[in-house]
Structure formats: structure tokens, C-alpha cells
């Protein structure tokens, strides 16, 4: 690892005290989670539709007065909204996410059963996207201007493709016409191929474009020139210097990519009939299933916060500009 850039002779951030920073961060996390849950709670209740009906099997269930009253009493829905909110949050604070109205099962259990599928899908898609983006970027750098142009156009087109169109087209091609792959989810790795490609290709387009930009920046920057002047060969320059700087914005995008993958998962899970929290979220919103929606949103928010914290840390370690930035005495 190269020596860190030193600015004004000030010490590196890593030597500063962690505790106040950590506490502030933790406080921020709790605040975000609380805000997310509160907004979701009230937003779902704002939407027209009676939660008691959701409990009874969906809207328009022609439930009898007795059944509705029973449902309301069981779930505490007959109390004023403010009280309901306090009850709900009292339980939330101790980790009890409640019972799903529509699935009649503990929210924690429902999420637990479905989370793994979505996370795996997101992970594989992210890996695929990173590989494609990296591959295209490396190829462009080596193979010259025309290749770079082609690569750039490919990435732009890939980023512009809507998920559901890609999904159905892939099914049409690889399942109906060619018969190579199953059109819907089946146990085993084969069932992952089409969903992962559907999510990964547009993401690869994005990541690729962002990385391409920073690779270009990095390739012409002073320290790369210095490295070349020192006699390092092209490969070394690429992997040790250029890539590190290309990675910075890409890492920053990882948090966004996570959110985007969750959104894409909603559509992909529906089309390929894969179990996952994306699909659960959509049906939960349609059914006004407040506990399930809030539960899933909290989990996603938590995941997003984890991702951003990790990427922030990674950013600090990787980006020399951020590390030495203390000549004002302010921590950023």
C-alpha cells in the first residue's frame, strides 16, 4: 500500500478518538430507523382502506360486523391512531414486530423466510454487475478508443433497459424459444440465472459508466503519471492506482445500488415467482398490511444503513483525499 498523502503535516484521521463518533453514528442510525418506521406507519394508514379488512382476507371481503369488530379488538384497531402508534412503538422498541395482518404469522418469521432469497439475488446480481462493468472497463483501457466507445454505448444501453421488459424478453428467448432455462423459479442454481441477469445487466450499465469516468480521470492524473515515470508497467498502474480511484465513486454507489436492487427485486420476484421480500412488500402495501410493510421497510433501511456505513469506512480507507482532510481541524 502506498504511503498516505500527508497534508500540512496533520495526523491521519485514524488516530482520532472513535467513541464520540461512534455514539453520534449510532444515534443517527436509531433516528433514521425511527423516522422510517413512523413515516411508513402513518403513510400506510393514510391510504384509503380498512386494515381490519386486510386481516379478514383482503378488501371487499364482505366481512360481517361481528367479524370486523372481533378483528379490530384483537389487533387494537379500535383505539385512536395516536394510541395505536404508541402501542406499536412500545413493542417495536423491544424488538417485537407484531403479526402480519394478511399472513397471520409473526412478521419476523415472514421476513426471515423471505429475506435470504432476496439477499442472495441482490448479491449475485451485484457481483455480476461488478464483473461486467470491470471487464468492460479493463477491455476498453487496453483495446483503445474504438473499444472504449463501444463499451460506453453498451453500458448506456444496458442501463436504459427496463427490468420487466428484459425479464420477459429473456424468458421468451431462453425458455420458450431455446428451452435452455426454466421460465420460473425452480430449486437449484438454474433458477437463479435469468433473475440475476435481469437485475445485473442494467446495474452493470450504471456501474460501468461511473467507473469509466473515474478511470479516465485517474489515468490522466498526476500520481499515475508519477507512477509511470517511476517505471511501473501499464498493468501495475491500472490495478494499483487507477482501479483504486475508479473504485471510489463505485463504492459510493454501492449503497444506492442496494436500494435499486431491492426495487428491481419487486418486479423480478413477481415475474419469476421467486419468494422474497420484494414480492412480499408489494402485496403487503396492496393489502394495507401495516406491520409487514413497516417490518420489511425497517429491515431494508437497516440494510441500507449497514451498506452506507461500510462504504463510508471503505471510502475513508481508500480515498486519500478524504483521509488527510483535517487541516481545518474539522472531521469529515
Amino acid at each position: 500500500m502506498t504511503a498516505p498523502l500527508v497534508v500540512d503535516g496533520q495526523p491521519d484521521v485514524r488516530a482520532r478518538p472513535w467513541l464520540p463518533w461512534l455514539l453520534a453514528r449510532a444515534g443517527g442510525v436509531v433516528f433514521v430507523l425511527w423516522a422510517v418506521a413512523t413515516i411508513t406507519f402513518f403513510a400506510i394508514r393514510l391510504i384509503p382502506g380498512d386494515p381490519a379488512e386486510a386481516i379478514l382476507g383482503g378488501p371487499g371481503s364482505q366481512a360481517s360486523a361481528e367479524a370486523l369488530a372481533q378483528a379490530r379488538a384483537d389487533y387494537g384497531l379500535d383505539q385512536p391512531l395516536g394510541i395505536q402508534y404508541l402501542h406499536y412503538f412500545g413493542r417495536l422498541a423491544v424488538g417485537d414486530l407484531g403479526n402480519s395482518y394478511s399472513l397471520h404469522d409473526s412478521v419476523v418469521k415472514v421476513i426471515g423466510e423471505n429475506l435470504g432469497g432476496t439477499l442472495l439475488l441482490a448479491l449475485f446480481s451485484l457481483i455480476l454487475a461488478a464483473l461486467i462493468a470491470l471487464g468492460l472497463a479493463a477491455w476498453s483501457v487496453r483495446a483503445g478508443r474504438v473499444a472504449a466507445g463501444v463499451g460506453s454505448v453498451l453500458e448506456i444501453v444496458a442501463a436504459a433497459v427496463p427490468h420487466f421488459w428484459l425479464a420477459i424478453s429473456l424468458i421468451l428467448l431462453f425458455s420458450t424459444v431455446l428451452g435452455w432455462l426454466p421460465p420460473v423459479s425452480v430449486p437449484g442454481p438454474l433458477g437463479y440465472v435469468l433473475p440475476v441477469v435481469t437485475l445485473g445487466v442494467p446495474l452493470a450499465g450504471f456501474l460501468g459508466q461511473v467507473m469509466r469516468d473515474s478511470i479516465l480521470d485517474a489515468t490522466a492524473s498526476p500520481f499515475v503519471l508519477a507512477a509511470r515515470a517511476r517505471g511501473e508497467n501499464d498493468g501495475g498502474v491500472f490495478w494499483r492506482h487507477v482501479l483504486r480511484h475508479a473504485a471510489i465513486p463505485a463504492i459510493g454507489l454501492a449503497g444506492w445500488a442496494f436500494g435499486s436492487l431491492i426495487s428491481g427485486a419487486v418486479i423480478v420476484e413477481t415475474i419469476f415467482a421467486r419468494p422474497g421480500i420484494g414480492r412480499s412488500l408489494l402485496s403487503a402495501v396492496e393489502l394495507r398490511d401495516v406491520p409487514l410493510v413497516v417490518g420489511i421497510v425497517l429491515v431494508v433501511a437497516l440494510g441500507y444503513i449497514l451498506m452506507t456505513t461500510l462504504t463510508d469506512l471503505a471510502d475513508r480507507l481508500v480515498d486519500p483525499r478524504r483521509r488527510g482532510n483535517t487541516h481545518r481541524g474539522r472531521e469529515r
Partner: protein
Amino acid sequence: MRGTAPHWRPVEVVSALVILLLIVAAVAPVLFAPGDPLAVHPSSAFSPPSFAHFFGTDESGRDIFTRIVHGTRASLVIGLSATAIGIGLALVLGLLAGLGPRWLDFGTTRFVEVLFAFPGLLLALLFIVIYGPGVVTSTIAVGLATAPGYARIIRSQVLVVKNAPYIEAAMVLGRSRTQRVVRHLLPNVAGSLFVLATLGIGQSIVWASSLSYLGLGAVPPTAEWGAMLSAGRTYITSFWWMTFFPGVFIVLSAAATTLLGRSLQQRVRSS
């Protein structure tokens, strides 16, 4: 590319041409397609592409080429407006966070994180389910959903730029805060903003079509690309042209705007 003389590459010419055609189609669709996009003709439903119907007809016998041309306006307007809303909002938040005192940064960043913690689709979904489907609500919804992403990037850009040597130099030279922001900070932030915006327009068009897919977008019988894709998806195995052509145009317009934006940006940087 970098540092070379700014001559036009063929790809750039093509995308500029495409965008020009799209703008003309948005402003005066009858120049390309004089027919009525809403004219129903059950007897000629599901016709494949032919000389009479370049892109075939849909399930109600309406000419798909005409509908795509007339739908350009809706799609471009959504794309531009949603991006404008998203970036505008993000700019305010990002600048506040980056330039303000610590507490403002803390508060705004937390606010952005809260917004960002919602999966974009959920935010759009909630907004539309509360306020009803339609072009206006889906535009605002897409803007809201994309704003946090831009805000984060803008904030980190601001942070990087604000501590850069030339800003420091300007300060030493006695320039006022406003001057430093307007003359030095903003132009450098604007560079990345431009890329974001051009990526954004295409993205917004795609987003809006996804919302239409879920039944939350334009109201029938409006000719809008996403709605056409959604209507055609059940027939994709039998009548491929109903989804193919709207899909191609979504990809084409998103790609063309992005390409053009990036090439312009490269020119700006190399000058």
C-alpha cells in the same frame, strides 16, 4: 478523448439526431404520424408490422407507430420533469449539507438517509397509492424516489470540492463566501451533476414505465410508452411487436440522452 480536439464522433451525431427527432415528435407529433392514436379498430387488432402499420397494431387495433410518436411527449415530459424535481431537491439538500454548519449537515444528511432508506419503488408506490395514479403523481413520485440518490452524491462532491486547493486559494485571495460558492464550487459540482442529470433523464423514463407496469402510471387510453409496454406484456409470447417497439423507444431515448450528456460533459472537462 480527453485533451483531444472536440470533433464529433459518429455515435454523438446519431444520438443528437435521435434526440432532435424525439423533440420534434414531442412538439408536433402529427408531422410523423398524422393518424389518431386513440382510434379504435377491433377488426384489425393484433396485426403484425406491415406497410399499413409500421409497428403493427395493438389489442384494440390502434396503430402502434402512431401511439409511440404521440406518446413521446408524455415520456419526455415525465423524464425531464422528474429529473428536474429530483436534482433540484437534491441540490438544495446537498448544498445545505455540504456548506452549512455541522448541525445542518447532520440534520440534512439524516433526512436524506431516511428518504434514501426507503426502496425507491416503495416511496413511489406509497405516494401514488395515496394521491392516485396519473402522469403528474408518477412524475413527482419518480422525482422523490431519485432525489436522495442524487443528494448523497452531490453532498460528497461538495465536500471534496470545498476543501480543494483552488477554493482555499480563493479564500486566501479574499473572495466572499458567495463568490467562492458561485464561481468556484458550483461549476465543479455542476460537472458531475450533468452526468447525473443525463443518466437521470433516461432513468426517470425507465422508472415511469416500471410504475406503469405495476398499474400506477398513465391512465388509459393515453398513449404512453410504459403503459403500452404494460398492456402488451400479457401478449408477449403471441404478439412480440406490442412490447418490442415501445421497449426499443424507451431504451433509445434513455440511451441517447445519456450519450449526448456524457459527450457534452467530456467537452466541458477537456476545455
